[in-house]
């Protein structure tokens, strides 16, 4: 398993990865709470970006409504916790199941009926909006007034119920992100990964090679949905409040995709690099602007838009492929 995990990565790459992991593990000891929070956001973005990347980068389907899975996962786990006292690790199962069902429906509608490209993107936006408005009226989970998780004073970390200090959340998010990457790497090297690449490159040619493109696109859709729902569960228990207006909003869907696009669609490390770049740059920017007195809402988003613009124009493959070339971290068979 570990051999497969490291397949295709040069010695240099492995070394860099190990250093990165060590640094990430050590962060809570050397960083203050603020930095920890920023890193949690960066890891969350990396994780959700990777989950989205499965759909777009691997199966070639542009989803602009991925926030729906975050929202479904968040509300499912939160509702089970608040109404029935069910712990999030169990609520996870429901969260994933609901998101997978939704992903399967969207996938089925799209793939069976040949809805692709911009039409598919619009379809995903519409579904997310539908969910946003729907949940605005869903009284059982607070509707538009919001849904709140009890935040009692804790004396120690409760991992089972995900109640605790930022350090605990940090390690949970780190573990999730590492797991996501490991999973994607293994999948990419296996038959399903190859088939996804084929579908992304040329669906007609892929079918002529015996690939059941419908089935594999569905796999990508439901896997992506399920993975994203897990992030939703984390979101609910970390922030402790959910508002349909925020959770399902199209801005969330767009933010979700910025990391992978800037980092590099379809690559393994693109979402990670993109997320860290964006988060660190934007935090730095906000600090700078606050110091200069430009602290208006929307400044951060303009910055994101500009980053996206620059990358799309100048580095269409994303930052990671360009960077990987410079660092010589990928390897070929002799």
């Amino acid at each position: 398993m570990s051999a497969r995990l490291l397949e295709g990565v040069s010695r240099r790459g492995i070394a860099l990865l190990a250093v990165l992991l060590a640094v990430l593990l050590a962060v809570p000891w050397i960083a203050n709470d603020y930095l920890l929070t920023v890193l949690i956001i960066a890891l969350y973005s990396a994780y959700t970006g990777q989950a989205w990347n499965v759909m777009m980068g691997f199966a070639g389907q542009l989803s602009l409504g991925h926030a729906i899975y975050v929202g479904l996962g968040a509300y499912a786990a939160a509702a089970l916790y608040v109404h029935f006292g069910i712990a999030p690790w169990l609520g996870l199962a429901a969260a994933i199941a609901i998101a997978v069902a939704c992903g399967a429906i969207i996938g089925f509608l799209a793939f069976r009926f040949g809805v692709g490209g911009v039409y598919f993107a619009i379809l995903t936006i519409a579904f997310a909006e539908f969910a946003r408005i729907g949940f605005d009226h869903f009284q059982w989970v607070g509707a538009s007034s919001g849904f709140f998780l009890p935040v009692a004073n804790y004396t120690r970390n409760d991992l089972w119920n995900l109640r605790g200090d930022p350090t605990m959340f940090y390690y949970v998010m780190l573990a999730l992100t590492v797991a996501a990457f490991a999973l994607c790497h293994v999948l990419l090297k296996s038959r399903i990964g190859y088939y996804w690449l084929a579908i992304r490159e040329d669906e007609i040619a892929a079918r002529s090679l015996g690939i059941d493109t419908f089935r594999y696109k569905m796999y990508a859709a439901v896997l992506s949905a399920g993975m994203t729902a897990v992030a939703g569960v984390f979101f609910a228990f970390y922030y402790n409040n959910l508002f349909p207006e925020q959770v399902f909003h199209i801005s969330r869907s767009i933010e979700l995709i910025l990391g992978p696009i800037i980092g590099g669609i379809g690559t393994l490390f693109g979402p990670l690099i993109g997320a860290f770049l964006l988060t660190s740059l934007s935090e730095a920017m906000q600090e700078l602007l606050s110091a200069l007195g430009f602290d208006a809402p929307g400044v951060k988003q303009v910055f994101y838009g500009l980053c996206l613009l620059v990358v799309v124009i100048a580095l269409p493959g994303g930052v990671w492929p360009w960077l990987a070339g410079k660092l010589h971290v990928t390897r070929r068979d002799p």
């Binding site: 542009l62 408005i133 729907g134 996206l308």
Partner: protein, 290 residues
């Protein structure tokens, strides 16, 4: 509820739908000719709306009159965007194009947020509270004027594409890109002109819409989505389809708002969108471009 109420709501919805239709015509023209999916369409419309409000507040001029100069400003904006930014992306993979325009959309929305703040704004004209009485119908004067202005502008646009040499040249580009090149049409310039025209539609529609709807920066994405729903329903690439789609959506949303809560009315448009995408993706009048 009495029949008059339904009728009033329906007429009101249709009139508003006309304005949305003009917005959608702009999108249809851009996609039909330049083959660019303008994800910043609604955002451009909000720019027009804010511009109209600013002009109204500083010069006191009626937005309906302002429709022409605002359209002119948006034309220039659209022309520059296409020629300067978007043109190289026509040959790039589809999602690159989407991302480019999404980036532009994000920037527009948030610059507007920074400049104008999040509060809703609108325009109160002298005739804002007048209405026309037509049998059982009580129609807002603003809606009538808005609908009328939209019809005039839309008709002018149709005439342009039908009869003007430039309009025909643009249609030639849409039908056959290589053929157009071969006969010596400057396609790049025509693309820029077309995008400018599409933007001008949005400019006019936006200037008219401020009479009917409050504007916030967040309206941009909502309008973009609405424009796409209208165009997909009516048929991508068909101008008449866009107008019909606008009427249909205006009508549906108004009636849905009546039967259910107003906040749920967009859900009907989404439902309609899903149905169209599944069963008739070319829309009511569109040619199949999938």
């Amino acid at each position: 509820m009495a029949a008059e109420v339904y009728l009033n709501v329906a007429v009101s919805g249709l009139l508003t739908g006309l304005v949305y239709g003009l917005m959608a015509v702009g999108l249809s023209v851009i996609f039909g000719v330049v083959r660019v999916v303008n994800f910043a369409h609604g955002e451009m419309m909000t720019v027009a709306m804010y511009l109209a409000i600013a002009l109204f507040n500083s010069l006191g001029l009626d937005p309906l009159v302002m429709a022409v100069p605002v359209a002119g400003v948006l034309f220039a904006l659209g022309y520059v965007m296409q020629a300067g930014l978007i043109n190289p992306f026509i040959t790039r993979p589809e999602y690159s194009q989407f991302m480019l325009l999404i980036a532009v959309a994000i920037i527009i929305v948030n610059v507007l947020l920074i400049v104008f703040g999040p509060d809703a704004r609108n325009v109160q004209t002298s005739y804002a509270f007048d209405s026309f009485l037509l049998g059982p119908l009580i129609i807002d004067a603003t809606k009538v004027y808005a609908g009328g202005a939209t019809l005039v502008i839309t008709a002018a646009l149709f005439a342009f594409f039908r009869f003007a040499p430039l309009g025909k040249a643009i249609r030639a580009c849409a039908d056959n890109y290589t053929g157009a090149l071969v006969v010596g049409l400057n396609v790049k310039r025509l693309y820029a002109l077309t995008f400018g025209l599409g933007a001008a539609c949005v400019g006019a529609a936006g200037s008219i819409l401020v009479l009917l709807v409050d504007v916030t920066p967040a309206l941009g994405p909502a309008l973009t989505l609405l424009a796409f729903i209208i165009v997909i329903t009516g048929g991508l690439g068909s101008m008449v389809g866009a107008v019909l789609g606008g009427l249909l959506i205006g009508f549906t949303e108004a009636m849905a708002g009546l039967f259910f809560t107003p906040s749920a009315k967009s859900m009907f448009s989404f439902g309609l969108l899903v149905l169209v995408l599944l069963f008739r993706p070319q829309g009511i009048l569109g040619k199949r471009v999938l």
